[in-house]
C-alpha cells in the first residue's frame, strides 16, 4: 500500500528569524517570530492557522505558540521524534493532516537557542528552560500544584454557575464503581461503596474528595489500527473509527486556561465533538455508550454537555436519571473507568470502547451498541473519537 498524499499538500509560506550565537530572546519568541513571518509570507492571517507540527525536542508547546501569535482554535498538532530526524518528520505530520482534512493550514516550526541556551554539546545534561516550565511557574509558588487542584478550580466555578451539586459527582463515581465491581482487571473489583463512605473520604482539593479522583496505576494499554481491507481478514470483529478529532480552543493553557472570558467551560471539547460528528455523519442520538475520560468525577459531567447529551448545567439531572447505568440512556465507563479500573491515561478507555462495539465488554449492555464515544482528558488540548461496527 502506498500513501496517497501526492499533491494533496502545498507549502505556501516560509520564514527564518535572524540566526545568531545569542538571540537574546526566548525560544518561544523565536518560534512566534518564525510562525508570524511565514504567515505573512503566505499572505494568511494568524487565525487561519489551525494546526502545528514540530519536533518532540522543541521546547515550545503548540498552545503557547498559538497564544503568542494570536491563532484561534486548533484542530491538529503532531510531533515527530528523534532529533534531526524530525526535520521532514514534522513536515510529514503536517502533510498527513492537510491531506486528510484534519487541518487546513499547518505551521511547521522549530525554534531553539542552540548556542546561548541548551547546547547540543552538553548532551543530555543540565537544566532545560522550557515554555512549559515557565507556565507551571505561574501556579507552583501558590500551592496550586496538582491536577486535582487545577480541576477543582474549574469545578468550583462550574458548580457555582450551574447549581450542580455533589449528588451528581457521587452518581458518576458510584455508577463507575459498580461497573468495576464486575471487572477482575479493575483495582476495585468486588469492592462497592456507598454515599456515607464517599462523603467521609478525605478532602483532596475542595470540592474534590478522594473518590472523585482517579487512581495512580501501573499498566499499559495498546490498540492496533489497520485498513478496513485487512481488518476483514483478521480474528476479531473490526471496529471502525467513524470520526476522530483533536482540538485546542483560543487562549488555551495546559490545565489552567483561567484567562478566558468565562473559564468554567471546555470549548476545546466542543470543537472536537463538532468535528467528530461532522466527519462521521453521526449525531448525538446515534451514540449508544460512552467511555468518557474520568480523571475526576466532575469532568464526566462537563463532557456530557460538550458532546451534546444535554445542555449546559443539565448534566447533573442527566446522570441522576440513571443515564450512565447499565439500562440507562448512555452506559458509561463500563470497564470501571479510570476512577475504578485503572488510570492508563485514557487508552484503557479506547480498549473498552472497542470491546463495547465488538459486544465483548464484561458489562455489555443489553441493547445493541452500534456506536461508542471515547474521549480524551479535560482542561488541556483534547479530543475524542466515535467508533462503530465495521461494515
Amino acid at each position: 500500500m502506498v500513501a496517497n498524499i501526492k499533491d494533496k499538500a502545498v507549502i505556501v509560506g516560509v520564514h527564518n528569524t535572524e540566526f545568531s550565537k545569542d538571540s537574546g530572546v526566548s525560544e518561544l519568541s523565536l518560534a512566534a517570530q518564525a510562525v508570524k513571518g511565514a504567515i505573512d509570507d503566505a499572505g494568511l492571517k494568524p487565525s487561519d492557522i489551525d494546526g502545528f507540527a514540530t519536533f518532540t525536542m522543541d521546547s515550545n508547546d503548540e498552545i503557547e505558540v498559538a497564544r503568542a501569535v494570536g491563532c484561534g482554535d486548533m484542530t491538529f498538532w503532531g510531533r515527530s521524534h528523534y532529533g534531526g530526524g524530525a526535520a521532514t518528520g514534522s513536515l510529514h505530520q503536517a502533510v498527513m493532516a492537510v491531506a486528510t482534512g484534519m487541518a487546513e493550514c499547518v505551521a511547521v516550526y522549530r525554534a531553539l537557542n542552540g548556542r546561548s541556551g541548551h547546547r547540543f554539546s552538553d548532551g543530555v545534561s543540565g537544566n532545560i528552560m522550557t515554555a512549559d516550565a515557565i507556565h507551571w511557574g505561574w501556579y507552583m509558588p501558590y500551592g496550586l500544584l496538582t491536577p486535582a487542584s487545577w480541576v477543582a478550580m474549574f469545578n468550583q466555578r462550574w458548580m457555582h454557575l450551574t447549581g450542580v451539586t455533589k449528588d451528581a459527582m457521587f452518581e458518576v463515581a458510584h455508577s463507575t464503581r459498580e461497573y468495576a465491581v464486575n471487572n477482575p482487571n479493575a483495582f476495585f473489583y468486588g469492592r462497592s461503596f456507598d454515599r456515607a463512605e464517599y462523603d467521609a473520604a478525605r478532602m483532596i482539593a475542595d470540592p474534590l474528595q478522594l473518590f472523585d479522583c482517579c487512581q495512580e496505576s501501573d499498566g499499559a494499554s495498546c490498540v492496533i489500527v489497520t485498513t478496513p481491507e485487512r481488518a476483514r481478514d483478521l480474528k476479531q470483529p473490526g471496529v471502525s473509527v467513524r470520526g476522530v478529532a483533536q482540538a485546542a480552543a483560543a487562549d488555551q493553557e495546559q490545565m489552567t486556561s483561567f484567562y478566558r472570558e468565562e473559564f468554567a467551560a471546555i470549548p476545546e471539547m466542543e470543537i472536537a465533538a463538532k468535528n467528530c460528528y461532522e466527519m462521521s455523519g453521526l449525531s448525538v442520538d446515534d451514540i449508544d455508550a460512552a467511555i468518557i475520560y474520568d480523571a475526576f468525577s466532575p469532568i464526566v459531567l462537563w463532557q456530557l454537555e460538550a458532546w451534546g447529551f444535554c445542555g449546559f448545567g443539565e448534566s447533573g439531572d442527566f446522570v441522576l436519571d440513571g443515564a450512565l447505568r447499565p439500562g440507562g440512556r448512555l452506559p458509561t465507563n463500563t470497564h470501571g473507568g479510570q476512577l475504578s479500573e485503572g488510570y492508563i491515561h485514557g487508552v484503557n478507555g479506547i480498549v473498552e470502547a472497542t470491546r463495547l462495539v465488538r459486544g465483548q465488554s464484561l458489562n455489555q449492555p443489553d441493547k445493541e451498541i452500534n456506536h461508542a464515544l471515547v474521549t480524551s482528558g479535560v482542561g488541556i488540548p483534547t479530543g475524542g473519537a466515535l467508533l462503530g461496527k465495521l461494515d
Binding site: 537574546g24 530572546v25 526566548s26 518561544l28 519568541s29 512566534a32 517570530q33 508570524k36 494568524p46 503557547e64 497564544r67 503568542a68 501569535v69 494570536g70 528552560m129 515554555a131 516550565a133 515557565i134 507556565h135 507551571w136 511557574g137 505561574w138 501556579y139 507552583m140 509558588p141 501558590y142 500551592g143 496550586l144 500544584l145 496538582t146 486535582a148 487542584s149 477543582a152 478550580m153 474549574f154 468550583q156 466555578r157 457555582h160 478525605r202 478532602m203 483532596i204 482539593a205 475542595d206 470540592p207 489552567t256 483561567f258 484567562y259 473559564f263 468554567a264
Partner: protein
Amino acid sequence: MTPEEQKAFEDKLYAYVGVKVCSRKPAKDAVNETMIRHWTEVMGDNNPAYTDMEWAASSRRGRTIAPPAMMYVWNQEGYSVASSGRASDPQTDMVEFFNEHGFTGVLGTNVKQEYSREASPGDTVYVEMVIDSISERKATARGTGYFFETLATFSDQNNETLGTQRFRVLKFIPQEQPAAAADTNELQVPTRIPSPRGHDNGWWWNAVDEGKVLIQRCKSCQTLRHPPRPMCGECQSMEWDSIESTLDGEVMSYTSLRHPKIPGYPSDPICAVIKLAEGTNIVSNVVGCEFADVHIGMKLKGKVEQVDEKTMLPQFYPA
C-alpha cells in the same frame, strides 16, 4: 578529579591510617585545683567531688578528682598556638594534603570519650594520638569529602590508662550553601517552589521581588496580557511595556490543596483565580480569612509579601 587522580590521591591519603600524630607525652601542668575550678565554673558543674575538699575528704575516694571530661584539657597547646602556630605533625600534614586537593572545608562531627580511671590533683596526664581511620569518599550535604577519626589515649604518670577520645572530622570540597544554611548547622527550611525565570517572565518575577505586580501591555494596541508572552495576540507587535496593578481584585474561583501536604507550603493553602480591576486574571493565594469565608465574587486587596525565607509573592486579603 579523574578516576586516576582520585586513586593517586586516595593511595597517599589512606597511608595516613595508623600513623601516630604524637607519641606519649606529658601535659605542661599536673592536674591542679585551680584549673579544675576554672573549668567547673565555666561549665556550671557544681559536683562537690571536683572542688569541695572537705566533702571529698569524707567521700569514698577521700580526695577530689578532675572531671573526667577534662581529660583532653590538660594537653591542650594553650595561647602560644595563636602567635606561633601549631607545630606540624602527621595530622596537620594530612589536613594540608586535603587542602591542597580542594578539600578545604572542615567540620567536626563527633567526639566520643570513654573513661576508665580517675585523675586527681598531683597526677600528670599523658596523651598519645593516632589517625585511626579514614572513610571512603562520601557525598554529603556539605560537599564531597572524607571523614577521618583520631584516637587519643590518655594515661597517668604510672602509665595507667585514664580513657580515650575519638574525634571525627569531615574534610570536604565546599559547595555553595543556601543562604539560610551558610552560617549555621541548622537544617535548611523548605521554601515554596519558585518559578523558573526566563526571557518572557523573568522581568515579572523580578518586579515582584521589588514589591510590584506588573501587567504586560502591548505598546502598539495597548492590550493588557497576563501571563506575559513575547508577542501580542491581538496585533502581533513585539513591543511592550507594563503597568502596575492596584491589586484590587475579585474571586472568580478558588480551591484549597488539602492533600498531599507539600513541604515549604502552609497547610491547606487557599488558591484563587482573581480578576484584577485592570481586567486581567491572576492566580494567587487568598490569606487573612478562613476557607469557609471565601466565595466567588468576594472582593480582595492584594499586596506583595515575603512568604518565606526566599519567596516574595502577591497575596490577597479580604477587602
